[in-house]
């Protein structure tokens, strides 16, 4: 932004001598002088011209730099050196682009033109405003940078923790929980809370930044997976047999017997849906806002122990032992997409925040990156030990666990990677990986407890306070909960293309009718069958009834024939016209075509 002080300085610098003094009334005597000295007058005029030129030059320069309007002259005679609104860089504007410009159709209705221009204007304004307000997101993500010929992956966590400030350093810690087996991990949506689920029944909730234990229980059963629900007040635990829901104090709220043998869970925060994948091959959706099962889909692909969600469109990805990854929505009983990704079984799948890339790892020890919009493979890596767990951070860092080593990769999809960005050895085999939202932290659950790793550049530095506020108070959380429930998206709207809702349904009438018939179970538009009236006194003889029926049928047929003949005639006519046109057109063209070689 231009400060007024700067402006004045510039102005004075340009026209110091030549500036005529401000006058509010005629200066008689000066004019007289000028009359006397013609030469001087000329000089004056020249000076004035020069000054004018300079000024115009300056203004044009400004204009080129981005001011849309001319510099407004103030009373003092000074010009605004930075006229118009402040310039926004093009790339930043493009960042907030929502749609392409629509062309205003020629010779169409004025209302249409108005509407289009209005929407165009509104969207442009929104875009510009958003770009302008981008300034208010000051936080920037930075990455670890090693010295010359020093690999960042060789830097140990302890070194990083020592180098950073105390608060950040305290985010590197280990929890030694060797008793209850390998741990699954989940961070809440705000990244403030952590739930740990030990294979041998140990479940603990921690406010991990303050290291405050919220609850700790042992469910006395094997635990397959843990997942936070929409807020930190509730979490779901997939136990040996059924699915349980506990509150943050460790009190069992629900035991959902409809969901049995659950191995993996995903929570869709905007739909309030808990998707579970079971050992029996069922993919089930539970609406946690009303507590009802939305759908249960039998995938017919055996044990489902690889699962992830696409945060962009709430599609569930399942990995199978035959190397395929399938995509599911609650609205369809069959897989939306089935991709053959690996030659062995799929071990882990993860999708990035924008829903563009999918990373899979399989028994063939490969790590593959797919463009999930086009379903095309982008990159293929070979990991000597194979990756058992994968997780993508908000900023697109990929963490892969190979045995007891956690590796973090940068830019797996854009440039070929040969070395990990970071690596860390945990005491025993990794069982669960999860990047903490809005923090540069990677939570690793392993056989010996839990490790919170520092991964610079992992988390999104700018959080949306209305969506997921890590610093929210209890009151704020309550308010957010109400709002989120009001804005809950219905499960019917889950589809591969989330913008499909904004498109006009182009299904033909016939198609729609078919759907309707299917939904209703009968055809509402069907012509009812003619049933001849029963007539008394022997007039309703079988032959008579038949005759009457025939009559009606004959009439109907006549109508049908008439219609078809009419349509045929019409078509014929149109066709002829078209032909005529075509012949005219072709005759026009053919003259020179003959001589073309």
């Amino acid at each position: 932004m231009a400060s007024p002080g700067e402006a004045t300085v510039k102005d004075s610098h340009v026209g110091k001598k030549k500036k005529p003094p401000a006058r509010y009334w005629p200066e008689q005597q000066k004019e007289g002088k000028d009359d006397n000295k013609v030469g001087k007058n000329e000089e004056h005029a020249e000076q004035a011209v020069e000054q004018e030129e300079q000024k115009t030059q300056k203004t044009t320069k400004r204009k080129q730099e981005g001011g849309e309007r001319d510099g407004k002259k103030f009373i003092s005679g000074k010009m605004d050196p930075f006229p118009g609104p402040a310039r926004i860089p093009e790339d930043r504007i493009n960042k907030f682009k929502r749609k392409d410009k629509t062309k205003k159709p020629r010779g169409s209705h004025y209302k249409l033109k108005d509407m289009i221009s209005r929407s165009e204007k509104a969207s442009e304004m929104a875009q510009k405003q958003a770009a302008r307000f981008d300034l208010l997101l000051p936080e920037d993500a930075g990455f670890l940078e090693g010295d010359e010929d020093e690999d960042t992956c060789t830097i140990s966590q302890e070194d990083i923790a020592d180098a950073v400030d105390i608060t950040a350093g305290s985010k590197y810690f280990n929890l030694k929980l060797s008793q209850f087996g390998p741990y699954r991990v989940d961070y809440s949506k705000t990244g403030r809370h952590l739930v740990l689920g030990g294979r041998r029944g140990h479940v603990a909730c921690i406010d991990w930044q303050s290291k405050q234990l919220m609850c700790e229980i042992n469910v006395m059963e094997s635990v397959n997976d843990v997942k936070w629900l929409h807020s930190e007040a509730m979490y779901a635990v997939a136990q040996k047999k059924w699915l349980y829901i506990y509150d943050s104090n460790g009190i069992e709220l629900h035991c959902i017997r409809k969901f049995n043998d659950v191995l993996r869970m995903q929570f869709l925060p905007y739909h309030f849906l808990l998707a579970t994948a079971s050992a029996t091959g069922f993919l089930q959706y539970l609406d946690v806002s009303v507590g009802k099962e939305v759908t249960a889909i039998c995938t017919k692909t055996g044990r489902l122990d690889v699962m992830c969600q696409n945060p962009h469109n709430a599609i569930i990805h399942l990995g199978h032992h035959n190397g395929t990854v399938t995509l599911w929505s609650p609205n369809q009983k069959e897989a939306l997409v089935k991709m053959l990704c690996h030659q062995g079984g799929v071990r882990s799948v993860t999708v990035d925040k924008t829903g563009t890339y999918m990373v899979t790892s399989g028994m063939d020890k490969k790590l593959k990156v797919y463009d999930i919009r086009t379903f095309k493979p982008l990159k293929s890596y070979f990991l000597p030990a194979g990756a058992s767990c994968l997780s993508l951070s908000q900023r697109g860092l990929l963490s892969a666990a190979t045995g007891d080593i956690v590796q973090v990769y940068r830019d797996v999809w854009s440039s070929p990677v040969t070395k990990p960005y970071m690596a860390h050895r945990v005491p025993r085999t990794v069982w669960g990986l999860h990047f903490c939202p809005f923090e540069d932290v990677l939570g690793v659950g392993h056989g010996d407890g839990f490790t919170s790793m520092l991964v610079p550049g992992a988390g999104e530095p700018n959080f949306d306070g209305l969506d997921a506020n890590p610093f929210r108070s209890a009151k704020q959380r309550q308010e957010w909960e109400v709002k989120a429930l009001l804005e809950k998206i219905q499960p019917e709207l889950i589809s591969l293309n989330p913008t499909e809702l904004g498109q006009v349904d182009r299904a033909s009438f016939a198609q729609r009718h078919q759907d309707r018939v299917q939904a209703l179970g009968f055809d509402p538009l069907a012509k009812e069958k003619f049933i001849p009236k029963y007539k008394t006194k022997g007039r309703s003889s079988a032959g008579g009834v038949e005759r009457r029926k025939k009559q009606v049928a004959y009439e109907d047929q006549r109508d049908v024939i008439k219609k078809t003949v009419e349509t045929k005639m019409k078509m014929e006519k149109e066709r002829k016209q078209k032909e005529q046109k075509a012949t005219v057109f072709s005759s026009q063209r053919s003259a020179l075509d003959r001589f073309k070689k």
């Binding site: 629509t102 929104a126 997409v337």
Partner: protein, 776 residues
């Protein structure tokens, strides 16, 4: 009589009466009347009392008739001179003619000559004034006029109303001052002098044309600055003069050149021009390809015209004469030759770098080959100990398809129809096969030539005969064949870690084409040479190579993603090696056996997947409906099939479905089922003003809510259409409003104005016509 005439006149009153004769007749009648009257009066004079009584009696009698006669204005005293009033009064139903009046006018001396003239003109102009219209008609006309007036008055408001209707937001009351702080400039500039002193000063300033607000230059100063200096003007004038002179000079030159009739001159001139142009064009190709292309098009056009016309074809009159002369005259022959040369010159295609490039590109352009990524995986380099994987990996997608075909199509093969359809599909494949086979044959022949074995007569068809031939010949051919395989195999990789068991497993992978093409030599090989490694094991490797050799350009053109895939997977080095856990999880323990197991799994996986995909594709295809009834129109019974023609007649082919979304993605199955759940929430018909889907979709694309927009945008987006102020009276719009709005509206001008004018034009015409009628 008079009454009759009067009636006549009355009847004709609505017409235009211009016949003079009738009027004259009338006049005559009038005179007669007068005479009668005169007679009556004279009799009155003579026999006074009795006569009067008699007259009264007469009157009474006459009054008994249908109409009462109006009594004459009668004078009691006797008068010699008759007043003219009596006359008129007498003929109450007669009219006074202008001539009568004018006649009296002649006598009266006081009348001015001017009036006389006027009157005479009046007399000459024998038009009569029409009788007034009926009340209804006049009323109607008046109503019309009144409506016109009102309409014009109302149409003045049209612009304002339209503007308000289309306005995004209306704020009532309409003429409200915008609240909030004003910018300082406006406050200052709108400042007005209040005190007398201030007023005086400002009046002085105004009088002297001094700037009041912006004290930079007075208008006079500005005007002086705008003026040009003398020198500048002079320079400019000189420039203009020069330019004009040059122009006239060139024009004159051109005129002169145009008039030159010498053919030789023109010939030379044209030739030079052409050369020059070509030179320029060559330069242009380098510097400005777009322009060059345009020029090229022009040349092409000229060429086309030349080819079209008979101009230099030696077919004209002149040419014919020359042909006759040509026998004897060398000059004539030369001229003809020249003519032909010109034609050749003109019709010659100009080859430039532009053209060449295009052709090359055309050559290069081809369809991308679809290959699944497994083909390009570099498992080989990584893990040479696993032959299964390699065998599978190096397969082509087409080959895989074929395998599936073999297995899946056993059952439907019985049905002839499908087979027929299949044939159509297979045709291009066969072509491909033929081509490949050709290539192979060529290669083989080349090798044979190298080996210096002269079996040139041999052909594929004659192979059976060859069996009978000497064993050495067979040996030679086979050796050539196998050596080729060996070469290829060696080139591919040293993959020869094979055991007999593994080879058996691999025979299944053999491609169909290979089976078909090489069945004969293979059999021979298997029969004759046991020690030779069976060809199928090594067949796959040369396959892709040949493909690549055949279509290297196509590869280049493939999608970039594919190109990325063709690279080997990056092997990532990890600084820390994972420690092997003891029995913690069995997954991590992967020894060689496990690897092989995995590979086996992969083997199945691909085939299964392809089978699955094929099944889905088939399910999506519409079925061919066969309505053939056996026995109709021909013999029926067991073992009899309806004839082919009949079946063809009754078979209805369904329309092929639109291409699948996963058509180009070999390793993906995309479900074709439509999501009907979303459809319920979608807009299913285009709203009113929109003409196509994209328009509507683009207008609703940008979100309105607070979550995605800044506060100001949201406020603007949800602006109410009408805003009223609490407690404020909304007055109807005053006329001032109209005047205020008129100025900007006029400024806007443009189309709306024109349209309005057109309408107004018609209106004004109509109004004009009405006015004319009203005048009548």
């Amino acid at each position: 009589m008079a009454r009759a005439t009067k009636k006549k006149g009355g009847k004709k009153s609505d017409k235009k009466r211009s016949e003079l004769t009738e009027e004259k007749v009338e006049v005559m009648y009038d005179d007669e009347d007068l005479n009668e009257d005169d007679e009556n009066i004279t009799s009155e004079e003579e026999e006074e009392e009795d006569e009067r009584k008699h007259h009264k009696l007469l009157e009474a009698i006459s009054s008994l008739g249908a109409k009462r006669k109006k009594t004459l204005g009668e004078r009691s005293e006797a008068a010699v001179q008759m007043s003219e009033f009596t006359v008129t009064a007498e003929g109450e139903r007669d009219r006074v003619d202008l001539s009568d009046l004018i006649g009296s006018m002649e006598k009266t001396p006081g009348v001015t000559s001017r009036t006389k003239k006027q009157l005479k003109n009046l007399q000459k102009d024998n038009k009569t004034i029409e009788s007034p219209l009926s009340r209804q008609e006049t009323d109607r006309i008046q109503r019309d006029v009144a409506f016109q007036k009102a309409a014009t008055e109302v149409t003045k408001w049209k612009g304002v109303i339209k503007q308000n209707q289309r306005a995004e937001q209306l704020i009532f009351p309409l003429n409200r001052e915008p609240s909030g702080p004003k910018p300082i400039e406006r406050v200052v500039t709108s400042w007005k002098a209040h005190t007398p002193l201030e007023e005086e000063i400002f009046s002085l300033l105004h009088a002297n044309k001094q700037p009041i607000h912006d004290p930079i230059l007075t208008p006079a100063e500005e005007a002086s600055m705008k003026a040009m200096s003398l020198e500048e003007a002079k320079i400019r004038r000189a420039e203009l003069q020069k330019a004009r002179a040059l122009q006239s000079y060139y024009e004159a030159k051109a005129r002169r050149a145009r008039k030159i009739k010498s053919k030789a001159y023109h010939k030379v001139h044209n030739k030079a021009k052409r050369k020059e142009f070509l030179k320029q064009f060559d330069e242009m190709v380098k510097t400005d390809p777009a322009g060059a292309l345009e020029e090229l098009n022009k040349i092409e056009m000229a060429r086309m015209q030349e080819r079209m016309s008979l101009k230099h074809q030696n077919s004209g009159k002149w040419a014919k004469s020359k042909v006759i002369m040509g026998k004897y005259d060398l000059v004539a022959r030369k001229a003809m030759q020249q003519q032909l040369e010109v034609n050749k010159d003109l019709t010659q295609k100009i080859v430039t770098s532009l053209n060449a490039e295009e052709e090359e590109e055309e050559e290069e352009g081809g369809d991308a080959e679809v290959l699944p990524d497994f083909v390009n995986d570099a498992e080989q380099a990584v893990d040479p100990s696993n032959p299964w994987m390699r065998g599978k990996l190096s397969e082509d997608p087409t080959e895989k398809d074929m395998i599936v075909d073999l297995t899946a199509e056993e059952a439907p093969r019985a049905a002839e129809e499908e087979e027929e359809e299949e044939e159509e599909v297979k045709e291009p494949e066969e072509e491909v096969l033929l081509r490949e086979f050709d290539e192979r044959r060529k290669q083989r022949q080349a090798q044979e030539a190298e080996a210096q074995i002269t079996v040139e007569e041999e052909d594929d068809d004659e192979e059976e005969e060859e069996e009978d031939k000497a064993a050495d010949e067979e040996e030679a051919e086979l050796s050539a064949f196998t050596s080729l395989f060996r070469e290829k195999a060696e080139a591919a990789a040293d993959v020869t870690d094979t055991s007999a068991q593994l080879e058996e497993g691999l025979t299944r992978i053999r491609t169909l084409e290979d089976v078909e093409l090489l069945s004969v030599p293979q059999e021979e090989a298997a029969a004759d040479e046991a020690p030779l490694p069976p060809p199928p094991a090594e067949n796959p490797p040369p396959e892709p190579q040949k493909r690549e050799a055949a279509k290297p350009k196509k590869r280049k053109r493939a999608i970039e993603l594919k190109e990325v895939l063709t690279k080997e997977p990056k092997v990532i080095q990890v600084p820390l090696a994972p420690t092997v856990e003891d029995a913690e999880d069995a997954d991590e323990q992967l020894d060689q056996r496990g690897l092989i197991k995995e590979a086996f799994a992969g083997d199945d996986v691909v085939a299964d997947f392809l089978k699955d995909k094929r099944k889905q594709e088939d399910a999506g295809k519409p079925k061919v409906v066969d309505l053939t009834l056996p026995g109709w129109g021909e013999w029926g019974g067991t073992g009899l099939k309806p004839s082919r023609s009949k079946r063809r007649r009754f078979r209805t082919k369904a329309v092929p479905p639109p291409p699948r979304k996963d058509q180009r993605l070999p390793s993906v199955i995309i479900s074709e089922n439509k999501n009907s759940a979303v459809r319920l929430h979608q807009v299913n018909s285009l709203p009113f003003p929109f003409q196509n889907h994209s328009q509507f979709e683009s207008t609703i694309r940008s979100p309105l809510g607070r979550t995605w927009n800044t506060e100001r945008t949201v406020k603007k987006n949800i602006k109410p259409k009408v805003v009223t102020q609490m407690g404020a009276i909304i007055e109807p719009m005053a006329r001032e409003e109209l005047l205020k709005d008129k100025r900007p509206a006029a400024g806007r001008g443009g189309r709306g104005g024109q349209g309005g004018r057109g309408g107004r034009g018609v209106d004004s015409q109509r109004r004009h016509i009405r006015d004319k009628r009203a005048e009548k």
